[in-house]
C-alpha cells in the first residue's frame, strides 16, 4: 500500500474516481506513514478516528457520484488553523489545550470539497520563525539530509510541519500560512511547491493571527498542479473577513500547461546579493533559461526599495503581533498562571506561555508602537511598504507578467545552527520572500534543483495581484524542466 502515499493529488483523484482504491484505503496508508514518521515531529496531533470517519463518509458520497473536487484526499492542517472540536494551539504553550468551537473558513472549504483531515501540523510558535524551532512541541526534522550526513536539518518555517509532512509523503497536501515567507521558504527547503496567494484571496477567519496585514493562507503540495487544485478550494471571498476580496475564484488547474509565449519575466537586479552562493546564482540563471526556452521574454527590472523590506517587515509584523497576541492573557481560555493581582496573572501567564522568539517580537512590536517612537518606526515602515508596493506596480506597469527570484538565500540548515546568538541571522532567511507580503502580491516557490550537498533549492515567481494563474503556468514549466525531487527515506 505504500505507493498510495507517493501519488500526487491529481493521480489520487483519478484513482478514487475510477475506484482503484477508496478514500479509507488512501487515508489508512497515510495514517500508517504518519505513525512510522513520528521521529520527524511533523504532526503535533494525529486525528485518525476523525480521518477515517471523514474518509468513510466521503467514500459513500463518491459511490453516489457526489464527491467534491477534493473528495477523499487526505490533508494535513497547520496548527494555526482553528479546527472545530480539534485542539488548536498555534504550537504555543499559551493556548494549552484550546479546543475551538469553530472551524476556520479555509479548512471548512476543504472539508466542503471532500478532503479528509489527518491531523494538525507543527509550526513555529504563532508562525514566528523560519526553522520551526520555536514550536512548543519541539523542532521538525526535514526529510532531506545532506549527502553522507546524519545531521538533522530544519524544514524551514514557520510552516515546517506542513512542508516536512508533504515531502515525506505523510499527507498529500497541507495548509500553511505565509506572513514573510512561511510557505515559500519551507517549500524551498523540502522540494515541495508552496503558494502564497494575493493578500485577500483566502479568508483569514479562524486562522490564529500573527500579523493581520501580511498573513495569508496557502497550500504546500508535491506538484504545481496539486497546489492549484488545493488553491481552488482554499480561496474565495468570506464576508467574515473584511480584508478578503470579493472576486470569483478561477479554475487554477486550467492554467497549467497554458502557453507562456511572449510573457515578460522580470529579473530584479536588487535580488543579486553580495556573497550569494554560486549555486543559487546558477539555479536562478537556469530557471530563467527554462522560461525563455518556453517562449517567455526575460527583462532586467529594478525594485529599488528591496533592501528596506526586511527591516520594515520586522517593524510592521511585530507591531501587529504585539497587539494580536494581547488576547492571550489567561482570562478566558488557554494557559492561566495565577497571581495575586490581575497584573500578576497577566505577567505570569504570558511569561510562561510565550517562548523566547514570541516574547522578543511582542517587545519589539510594543516598542515601535510606543509614544515617541511610532513615527520613527511604525509610520516610517508603512511608508517603506508603500514604496515597495510601488516598485512592483511600476514593474508590472511596464508589461512584466511575473518576476523570477531565488526563494531562499541558502538550502536547509541544521537544527540549532542559526539564530542562536543573533536572531537577525534567522530573519535573513526571508530576504527574498518578505517583499511579496509587504506588497500583498502572490508568490510561488517551486523546487528547481539541488545544491552540492544534495539539498533541494527553490525558485520563486512573484505575480500581479490576483494573477495566481500565471504563476501556476510558469511554475509548471520550471517543474517540468527541473524534475521531481523525493527525499530518500531514513526515518
Amino acid at each position: 500500500m505504500t505507493d498510495l502515499t507517493s501519488m500526487t493529488i491529481a493521480e489520487a483523484r483519478a484513482g478514487l474516481a475510477n475506484k482503484s482504491f477508496t478514500s479509507l484505503e488512501l487515508t489508512d496508508a497515510h495514517l500508517a506513514a504518519m505513525e512510522a514518521a513520528r521521529s520527524l515531529n511533523a504532526f503535533v496531533l494525529e486525528t485518525p478516528d476523525k480521518a477515517r470517519a471523514m474518509a468513510r463518509a466521503v467514500d459513500a458520497k463518491i459511490a453516489k457520484g457526489e464527491g467534491g473536487p477534493l473528495a477523499g484526499i487526505p490533508l494535513g492542517i497547520k496548527d494555526l488553523f482553528a479546527t472545530k472540536d480539534v485542539r488548536t494551539t498555534a504550537c504555543s504553550k499559551i493556548l494549552g489545550n484550546f479546543i475551538p468551537p469553530y472551524e476556520s473558513t479555509v479548512t471548512s472549504q476543504l472539508w466542503r470539497d471532500g478532503a479528509v483531515m489527518l491531523g494538525k501540523l507543527n509550526n513555529d510558535e504563532f508562525a514566528m520563525g523560519s526553522s520551526n524551532e520555536t514550536s512548543c512541541f519541539g523542532p521538525v526534522a526535514n526529510p532531506w539530509r545532506r549527502e553522507g550526513s546524519n545531521t538533522t536539518l530544519v524544514p524551514g518555517g514557520s510552516s515546517g510541519g506542513s512542508a516536512s509532512a508533504v515531502a515525506a509523503l505523510l499527507c498529500m497536501g497541507a495548509t500553511a500560512t505565509d506572513t514573510g515567507g512561511s510557505i515559500r521558504q519551507p517549500a524551498a527547503f523540502t522540494a515541495t511547491v508552496g503558494v502564497k496567494p494575493t493578500y485577500g484571496r483566502c479568508s483569514r477567519w479562524g486562522i490564529v493571527a500573527f500579523a493581520s496585514s501580511l498573513d495569508q493562507a496557502g497550500p504546500i503540495a508535491r506538484s504545481v498542479r496539486d497546489s492549484a487544485i488545493l488553491m481552488r478550494s482554499m480561496a474565495g471571498h468570506d464576508p467574515k473577513d473584511t480584508t478578503s476580496v470579493d472576486i470569483g475564484v478561477p479554475d487554477y488547474e486550467a492554467a497549467i500547461g497554458k502557453s507562456v509565449k511572449g510573457m515578460k519575466i522580470g529579473i530584479p537586479k536588487e535580488y543579486r546579493l553580495d556573497g550569494m552562493p554560486a549555486e543559487i546564482e546558477k539555479l536562478w540563471t537556469e530557471g530563467a533559461a527554462w522560461l525563455k526556452a518556453a517562449g517567455a521574454e526575460l527583462v532586467e527590472v529594478s525594485l529599488p526599495h528591496t533592501k528596506y523590506a526586511l527591516p520594515a517587515y520586522y517593524i510592521v509584523a511585530p507591531a501587529e503581533a504585539s497587539s494580536n497576541l494581547a488576547r492571550y492573557d489567561g482570562v478566558r481560555y488557554g494557559l492561566r498562571v495565577p497571581g495575586r493581582s490581575i497584573g500578576e496573572l497577566y505577567e505570569n501567564t504570558r511569561a510562561e506561555g510565550f517562548g523566547d522568539e514570541v516574547r522578543r517580537r511582542v517587545m519589539i512590536g510594543t516598542y515601535v508602537l510606543s509614544a515617541g517612537y511610532y513615527d520613527a518606526y511604525y509610520l516610517r515602515a508603512q511608508k517603506v511598504r508603500t514604496l515597495i508596493k510601488k516598485d512592483f506596480e511600476d514593474c508590472f506597469a511596464k508589461g512584466v507578467n511575473a518576476i523570477l527570484t531565488p526563494a531562499t538565500p541558502s538550502a536547509a540548515f541544521g537544527v540549532g545552527e542559526k539564530g542562536g546568538a543573533d536572531p537577525v541571522e534567522m530573519y535573513l532567511n526571508d530576504i527574498f520572500t518578505v517583499t511579496v507580503n509587504m506588497a500583498g502580491l502572490p508568490g510561488i516557490a517551486v523546487p528547481a534543483g539541488k545544491d552540492a550537498q544534495g539539498l533541494p533549492l527553490g525558485l520563486q515567481l512573484i505575480g500581479r495581484p490576483f494573477d495566481e494563474e500565471t504563476l501556476f503556468s510558469l511554475g509548471e514549466i520550471l517543474e517540468q524542466a527541473a524534475g521531481r525531487f523525493t527525499p530518500p527515506r531514513w526515518w
Binding site: 479562524g206 493581520s212 480584508t243 497584573g343
Partner: protein, 494 residues
Amino acid sequence: MNASVRQGKLIKGQTGDWEVVIGMEVHAQVTSKSKLFSGASTAFGGEPNTHVSLVDAAMPGMLPVINEECVRQAVRTGLGLNAKINLRSVFDRKNYFYPDSPQGYQISQYKSPIVGEGEVIVELEGGKTAAIGIERLHLEQDAAKLLHDQSPSMSFVDLNRCGVALMEIVSKPDIRDSEQAKAYVTKLRSILRYLGTCDGDMEKGNLRADINVSVRKPGGPLGTRCEIKNMNSINFIGQAIEYEARRQIEIIEDGGQIEQETRLFDPNKGETRSMRFKEEAHDYRYFPDPDLLPLEFSQAYVDDLRAHLPELPDQKKARFIADFALSPYDAGVLVAERESADFYETVLAKLSDKKRDGKMAANWVINELFGRLNKEGHGIADSPVSAAQLAAIVSLIGEGTISGKIAKDLFEIVWTEGGDPRELVESRGMKQVTDLGAIEKVVDDIIAANPDKVAQAKAKPQLAGWFVGQVMKQSGGKANPQAVNELLKAKLGI
C-alpha cells in the same frame, strides 16, 4: 433668537472672579440590534455572558466586521449635530490590558473619526442660547462589565456589553458654567433621541459623560484641567462641576497647583475625588486596525441620510413659534422631549382650527396636562388624557362652546372617568350659554336684588367682579364670560 453667549456665570473667589472652562466627552450607546463588530445582541439586562459572540470573546482567529447600521446611525448623528461627515475614516486599536477588554485593545477611531466639527445650540435661562462647538464624533467598542462584589477573591466578567457600539461625542471647551453644561447634555440627548440614534437612558448608562473642568481668571490663559469620569445624571453633572470648580479655585487661591488627573463624583457626598489607582501613565499604542479596511462611503449615501432625517428640536421649535406664535419658552418646553413634541403635534393634527387654537393647545399641554402628569408621576406615554381628547377640549374652547373654566372641569372628568369630551359636554349640560336673552335675565335679576352692590360698583368699577361671579354661579358657570362682562358694563354704566 437671542444672540449666542460665550460667557457663563463667574464664581467669586477670595481673589476675585473665576471663569470655569468645560469640555465634555459624551459616550452614547448607538441604537442598533447588534454590536459594532459582531452579530451578538445589544439587548440590555440579559443573563451575564449570554450576548457574546466568538468575536466579542476574542477567540483566536476571530475578525471584526463593521455593522453598517452603526455607521448609518453615526452619520445621522453627525448630520443632526450640523457636523462635517468624513467620507473616509479609520478604525484604530487602542491597546491596553484589562479584563474588560478581551482583545487586549479597544477598536476606536483615533486620527480619522467618522464625524468632524459641528455645533449644538443650547437653551439657557431667560431665553438665551449658547453655541457649543463639537470637536468630533467617533465610533468605538464599549467595554465588558466587571463585577467585583460576587466573590471575596475574584472579579467576574460579563461580556454582554463588550463590543456594543458607542459614539464618543467630544465638545470643544466652549462650556462656561454648570448651567450650560447641563443644557448641553440635555440638548445633545434630545437630538439623539429625536434621531433615534441613542435612547439617552442615563440610568442604564446608555448615555454618560466625562467632564473636563478647569478654572481661570476671565479671559486669562487656560488652567490645568481635571477629568470627572462616567457621569450618568444631568443633575450630578451640575453638582460635580460646581464642586470641582470651587475645589480648584480654593487650591489655586491657597497658592497650590492643580494636578491633571482623573476624578470620580460621589453623589452621596456631593464631591469629586481622585481615582489614584488609575494614575499609571497609559501609552495606548494606537495604530490602524489591520483587520479592518478604512471606512468609506459616498456623498450620495450621506445626502440620502440627510434627506430622510426627522425634524430636529431646533427646527421644530422655530416652526412652532412661526406657525402658532408660541413663546420661545413654551416652544422649547414642548420640543425638549420627542414624546412631548409628538403629543403636541398629534393634538394639533386633531384640532378643528389649528391657526386659531394652536397656541391655546400648547398652553393646555404644558400647563394642564404636563402639570397634572408631573403631579401624579405619570409619563406622557401613559397619560390618561389622550391627544385626541385634549384636542377636543381645546377645540370646544376655541369654538366658544365651553368656557376655560368649564374646560378645566371637563379635563378633570376626562382625566378621571374618560370619555369623548364633546359627548360629555352634551350629556352633562356643560355648554356655555351664549344666548344673550337668557344671560340678560340673570343679570337683571341680580342687579334688581342687590341695589347696595350696584351703588358700590358704580363708585368702584373693580367691584363689578362680584356681579360676574354671581352670574356665573347662577348659570352654573355656563354663561359666556365675555357676554356677561359686556352686559354688566352696559347695565351698571361703568
